[in-house]
C-alpha cells in the first residue's frame, strides 16, 4: 500500500485512512498535507490508501446510480481496516457516510460494509472537534476572514460550529460572519457548468456578502465551493484570499491562495 506507514505507529494511535478527495488531489494538494499534519499533531497515524479516486458524487448526482455503486464498493474496499476515514470535505464525506449505505442497502454482500464504513467516516473539522476533542491548534494567521458554510457539510453532517471553534484559537485571525453564510455559492458539482449563468449569479451574490463583511480572506471546508468562489473573485479582480480552513489551522497558509499565482 502506497504510503502505508503502519510500521511507525504504535497500537494506541488511531489509524486514520485519509480520503484526499479528487479535487484536493488535483488542484490543491496542500490541503491534503494540512490534513496529515493536523491529524498527526492530534496523535493519529495517517495512511493514504492508493485505491481511492473519488467518492462517486458526480455520477450519483447525474443519475448514474450503478456506476456510483461500483465506485462506492471500490472506496469501501480501499478503506476497510482503518479505525477512521477522514476527509477535508463535507460533501464527499456526506456521500460516504449518508449515501453509500442508502444505495447499497439492498446489496446483501455490501450493505453491512457500507454501514460500517459510514459509522467510521468523518469530515476533518468534525473529526478533530467531536471525536478527538482537540483544543484549537496554536498557530497564527494575519487576516480578517469570513467563513462560507458549504451546503452538504452544513445540512447533511451538521458542520457549523466545529471549524469556527478551531479557528478561534488562531492568533491574528478575526472571524467576521457574513450575511447568508449558509446560502449555496452556486457550485453544485456539475450544476456550475450545466447552468453557468445561474451559477455565476449565485456566486456573485456570495461575493457581495463577502465584500460587505469587510473580510480580506474567505475560508471554507469544501474545495469545490472554494474554487468556484475564488474563480469569480479573481475574474472580478477582487483582492480576497481564498483558503481551506485546514491550511490555516495547520499553519500552512504561507503560499498563494486558491487562484492566486506567484506574482499575486
Amino acid at each position: 500500500m502506497t504510503g502505508d506507514r503502519a510500521s511507525q505507529t504504535n497500537s494506541t494511535q488511531p489509524r486514520v485512512g485519509l480520503f484526499v478527495t479528487c479535487l484536493v488531489d488535483l488542484f490543491r494538494p496542500g490541503i491534503g498535507f494540512a490534513c496529515v499534519k493536523l491529524l498527526e499533531d492530534a496523535g493519529c497515524a495517517v495512511e493514504v490508501p492508493a485505491a481511492q479516486v473519488c467518492c462517486g458524487q458526480p455520477a450519483f448526482n447525474s443519475g448514474d446510480t450503478d456506476a456510483t455503486r461500483r465506485i462506492a464498493r471500490q472506496t469501501i474496499e480501499a478503506f476497510a481496516g482503518y479505525d477512521y476515514v477522514v476527509g477535508p470535505s463535507g460533501s464527499c464525506m456526506a456521500t460516504i457516510s449518508k449515501d453509500y449505505p442508502e444505495i447499497l442497502k439492498d446489496d446483501s454482500e455490501w450493505s453491512e460494509r457500507a454501514r460500517a464504513l459510514a459509522g467510521r467516516s468523518y469530515e476533518l473539522m468534525a473529526f478533530l472537534t467531536d471525536v478527538l476533542e482537540v483544543s484549537p491548534p496554536e498557530t497564527s494567521f494575519e487576516g480578517r476572514a469570513t467563513y462560507h458554510d458549504s451546503c452538504s457539510g452544513l445540512r447533511s453532517l451538521g458542520i457549523k460550529q466545529q471549524p469556527r471553534t478551531l479557528l478561534s484559537g488562531v492568533k491574528g485571525l478575526t472571524l467576521t460572519e457574513m450575511q447568508d453564510a449558509e446560502v449555496c455559492c452556486g457550485f453544485g458539482g456539475t450544476f456550475c457548468v450545466k447552468y453557468p449563468e445561474i451559477s455565476v449569479k449565485m456566486v456573485s451574490d456570495k461575493i457581495g456578502n463577502i465584500d460587505a463583511s469587510g473580510a480580506d480572506t474567505l475560508l471554507g471546508g469544501d474545495l469545490g465551493c472554494l474554487l468556484n468562489i475564488a474563480g469569480r473573485l479573481k475574474r472580478l479582480g477582487k483582492d480576497v484570499r481564498v483558503l481551506h480552513t485546514a491550511e490555516v489551522l495547520a499553519g500552512m497558509a504561507d503560499r498563494p491562495g486558491i487562484g492566486d499565482g506567484d506574482r499575486d
Binding site: G3, P29, V48, I198, R235, G261
Partner: protein
C-alpha cells in the same frame, strides 16, 4: 396551463437580465426568509410540529382511500356533491358541465393552484363564461395575461410600478382615469371592481387548503377575505382540490394550518380562514344553493406507494422556493409551468412527464435548504436526485453528459490508470498557470470560464507527492 415550449435554460437567461424581475425577487429573499425565521424562532415546538405534520400526511396517504370515501360521505350528508376526476381533461369537463347546468354566465375564482394545473380558465372562457380571479395577485396576472410565478404570491415577479402601469392601461374601462400613486390605491381599485363581480357571479370556484374527512369541510386560507366572498355569494360553489388535500380531522388540519401560515408568510395565522361545509341550509343567512367538490387525481395516485409519495405531503406553502437560491435567481416563470421552485421541479415531471420537463430536476445544486425549511419534511433534494436517476435509466439524459459521466466513472474505477493520467496532466496545467495562478479560459471548460477564472493546480497531485514521500522514507 400549457407547459412552456422553450427550455428552462433560455427562460432563466432572460430572467437573469430582467432588472425589474431581479428587483422584485430580491424583496422575497430578504422579506419572507426573515419573517419565517422570526415566526419559527417564536415557536419552540415548531420542529416537533414539522414531525407531527409529516406524520399526519403520511398516515393519511397510507389510508387515502379510506379518508377520501369518508370525506365524500360527509359532503353528501351535508347536501353537497363530490365528483372524481382522473385527469385535467375530465376535471375541466365536470366543471364546465356544472356551470352549464347552472346556466352560469360569470364565474368568480378564489386562488387555486390546481385550477391552474388543469388550465381551467381557458376552458371556461371558451364556453363563453366571464372568469374573474378574486385573489389580488391572481387578478393582476390574469389581467396581464400571465401565469403566476409563485404559488403563494402570484405577482412576486412584478413591481408596484409594473402594476400601476397595467392598471392605468386596463382600468380606464372601470372609470379609473388616473395612474394610481400607491399600493393602497391599486388595491382600492381591485376591491371596487371585484365587489361588483362577487355580487354578479353565478358560480364561485375556490381551491382547497385542507379537506376535512370527519366533517366534510373545505378549509381555505387567505389574507384578503376573497375566499369567503367567492364561496358564499354565488349560487353555486365549486371546490377544486387534488386528492392529497384530505386530512382526517379538524385537529389534524389545525396542526398543518399553524405550519402553513408560518412557513408561507411568517405569520402565526392568516387573516382569514374559511370553512365551507355543504350548501346553504334552510336557516342559513347566506351560502350557495349548490355545493360541488371536484377531486382531481391528475397523476397523484401514480405517486402513491412509491419513492415519490412524500411529495404528496406538500401543503403548498412556498417556503422551498422562498429559500431556493436558484428560484431566487431566475424567478418562477423560468420553470415553465404552474409549480415553480423545488416542489415544482419534482411535481412537474411527475405530473407532466419527463419529456416535457427534463431540465427541471437538474436545475438545482442539491444544497438542501428547501428540505431544511419544508414544514412537512419532504426530502426534496433526494427526490430530485431520484428523478435524475429515472432519467438516466429511461434515456432522457443528453448524450454529452452521459458520455462524460460514463467516461469519468470508467476512469475513476481504475485508480492506477487515473493516477498515471492525472500525474502527467496536472503538472503541465500547474506549470502553465504558475504565474497568475489561474486561467481565463481553458479548452472544453467554457461553462466554467465564461464568468469565472479557473484556479490553476498548485503543483503535482497529492498522490504523486505522497508516493514520492513514501519512497524517500
Amino acid at each position: 396551463m400549457a407547459i412552456a415550449g422553450e427550455s428552462f435554460k433560455s427562460r432563466a437567461s432572460s430572467a437573469l437580465s430582467d432588472a425589474s424581475l431581479q428587483t422584485s425577487i430580491a424583496g422575497l429573499k430578504s422579506g419572507f426568509v426573515a419573517a419565517r425565521a422570526r415566526a419559527v424562532a417564536a415557536l419552540p415546538e415548531f420542529e416537533a410540529m414539522r414531525d407531527a405534520g409529516a406524520a399526519i400526511k403520511d398516515h393519511t396517504l397510507a389510508h387515502l382511500d379510506v379518508y377520501l370515501e369518508r370525506y365524500e360521505r360527509e359532503v353528501v350528508r351535508q347536501g353537497g356533491k363530490v365528483h372524481w376526476a382522473r385527469d385535467a381533461e375530465e376535471a375541466r369537463r365536470i366543471i364546465r358541465e356544472i356551470c352549464a347546468a347552472a346556466g352560469a354566465r360569470t364565474v368568480v375564482k378564489g386562488k387555486s393552484m390546481v385550477s391552474e394545473e388543469i388550465d381551467l380558465n381557458a376552458a371556461l372562457e371558451a364556453d363563453g363564461l366571464e372568469v374573474v380571479e378574486s385573489d389580488a395577485g391572481e387578478y393582476i396576472v390574469q389581467l396581464a395575461g400571465e401565469a403566476p410565478s409563485h404559488i403563494v404570491m402570484p405577482t412576486i415577479h412584478k413591481t408596484t410600478d409594473d402594476v400601476a402601469d397595467l392598471f392605468e392601461d386596463r382600468h380606464r374601462a372601470y372609470g379609473f382615469m388616473d395612474r394610481a400613486k400607491s399600493a393602497a390605491e391599486l388595491i382600492g381599485q381591485v376591491r371596487t371592481i371585484l365587489r361588483e363581480k362577487y355580487f354578479a357571479a353565478d358560480v364561485g370556484i375556490t381551491g382547497a387548503n385542507f379537506l376535512v374527512a370527519e366533517t366534510g369541510s373545505n378549509i381555505i386560507v387567505t389574507n384578503e377575505g376573497n375566499g369567503d366572498l367567492t364561496s358564499t355569494l354565488a349560487r353555486v360553489h365549486i371546490v377544486t382540490a387534488g386528492i392529497e388535500k384530505v386530512v382526517p380531522t379538524l385537529n389534524d388540519a389545525s396542526v398543518l394550518l399553524r405550519l402553513l401560515a408560518r412557513s408561507a408568510l411568517g405569520m402565526e395565522v392568516t387573516s382569514y380562514m374559511t370553512l365551507s361545509t355543504g350548501p346553504r341550509r334552510a336557516d342559513d343567512l347566506d351560502g350557495p344553493e349548490e355545493y360541488h367538490v371536484v377531486l382531481i387525481d391528475n397523476g397523484r395516485t401514480e405517486m402513491l406507494g412509491g419513492a415519490f409519495q412524500s411529495m404528496l405531503r406538500c401543503i403548498r406553502c412556498g417556503a422551498c422556493m422562498n429559500h431556493c437560491p436558484v428560484y431566487l435567481s431566475v424567478g418562477g416563470h423560468s420553470y415553465g409551468w404552474v409549480y415553480p421552485g423545488p416542489m415544482g421541479a419534482v411535481l412537474t415531471p411527475m405530473i407532466a412527464g419527463h419529456e416535457k420537463a427534463k431540465e427541471l430536476p437538474h436545475a438545482c445544486t442539491l444544497n438542501g435548504r428547501c428540505q431544511q425549511v419544508c414544514p412537512v419534511k419532504i426530502p426534496l433534494p433526494d427526490l430530485l436526485r431520484r428523478l435524475r436517476h429515472q432519467q438516466w435509466e429511461q434515456g432522457f439524459i443528453d448524450a454529452t453528459t452521459r458520455w462524460g459521466i460514463s467516461a469519468w466513472a470508467w476512469l475513476a474505477q481504475r485508480p492506477k490508470l487515473y493516477r498515471a493520467a492525472t500525474g502527467l496532466a496536472i503538472p503541465v496545467l500547474a506549470w502553465l498557470g504558475r504565474s497568475s495562478g489561474r486561467f481565463r479560459s481553458l479548452p472544453l471548460a467554457s461553462g466554467w470560464t465564461a464568468g469565472r477564472d479557473m484556479p490553476a493546480p498548485q503543483g503535482e497531485t497529492f498522490h504523486a507527492q505522497w508516493a514520492r514521500r513514501a519512497r524517500q522514507k
